[in-house]
Subunit: 175 residues, 2 copies
DNA sequence: TTCGATGCAAATGGTTTGCATGCTT
DNA sequence: AAGCATGCAAACCATTTGCATCGAA
């Protein structure tokens, strides 16, 4: 995203806060700016804190969470759960995103043809009277390599012990 | 599910554990049985513990989590995140499920034609070399009633305070 | 000046883990 | 008997909250 569009978006986002009666603090400016400058990546709370602190070192983690909650309640931010033990955040843009991740090795792929897929999904929800909000869909699967490795078929018990988790976190579920 | 199919499934699930070298303990039997007897509902860890303890009061919460992790790592159980502050669990069946929930009022609808949708989604992932695992997709949207109420357009600030969350939990994100 | 917003640190609570013991194989 | 599985309780750690203070309007 070019600088021009970023500052334009920042003003747009801040304006949405202002019009609803919320105050425009420097912390909120910095957090919104950080989110918009990192549109491609899904930051988690800690990463967002560290980046924001480069702009304003006084920002604390509580403000990060409170701002995230505020923006989420206004539909200005989505939460993304990649089953890592914490959440990530994204500023929704006009399109939706479709990710597939491998439950064995963790590899994640961004699916193409988002507009086509978005139209399909909107039609599904529309048939029930729902209008979908911009969001990212996460689908769990197995990548070709892991299938060829026989991840699910081969016994997990090798040499007397449970085989180590290839994803490095062995089914952690803490969110 | 009739009794016959349940005990059949239990044996199937326990057999999958055994064939991979895991021991068949009474706790695992009870937990698997509890999950299968409650196929429609998505139990969380505490609910699963309470139900399992009706069969075997000695079962502890740690065993619940360890069994869940084991089954999940074997692809025998999915985690469901309904943004409640904890996870729920489901035993995957052959088909996938597609839910739309209203981000304003929380209403959830189970979409029809699962087989058609499943075929579409599988094709999307297959194009990138992934094979999808059975799972439930959650899509966030706005229902017709809430759109007509103008949820997103009206200012959230009414009478000097933040309007109460219509979904009752106002953006909690703790998982 | 008012009172919403923040930083700090403590609290929360779902989930994980260390360790002695139990039980399947 | 060997060693995986369990119960218990303590530890973890992302997120939330109380409170004194700051600062936008």
């Amino acid at each position: 995203m070019q600088e021009g569009r970023i500052s334009e978006s920042i003003e747009d986002y801040l304006g949405r806060l202002k019009s609803r009666g919320f105050r425009l603090t420097n912390q909120r400016r910095v957090i919104v700016e950080t989110l918009l400058r990192n549109l491609g990546t899904h930051l988690n709370a800690r990463e967002l804190l560290e980046l924001a602190q480069q702009e304003d070192p006084s920002i604390g983690i509580a403000t990060i969470y409170r701002t995230i909650e505020l923006m989420n309640s206004l539909g200005m931010l989505n939460m993304v759960n990649l089953e890592e033990g914490f959440l990530r955040f994204e500023v929704p843009d006009e399109r939706m995103h479709f990710h597939v991740f491998c439950r064995s090795c963790g590899k994640t792929v961004h699916l193409p043809d988002e507009d086509t897929k978005m139209a399909d999904v909107r039609k599904w929800a529309g048939a029930e009277g729902f209008e979908l909000l911009p969001q990212t869909f996460e689908m769990a699967g197995l990548c070709r390599e892991c299938r060829e490795d026989g991840v699910l078929e081969e016994p997990l018990l090798v040499g007397g012990g449970r085989r180590r988790c290839r994803r490095g976190r062995c089914g952690r579920m803490k969110q």
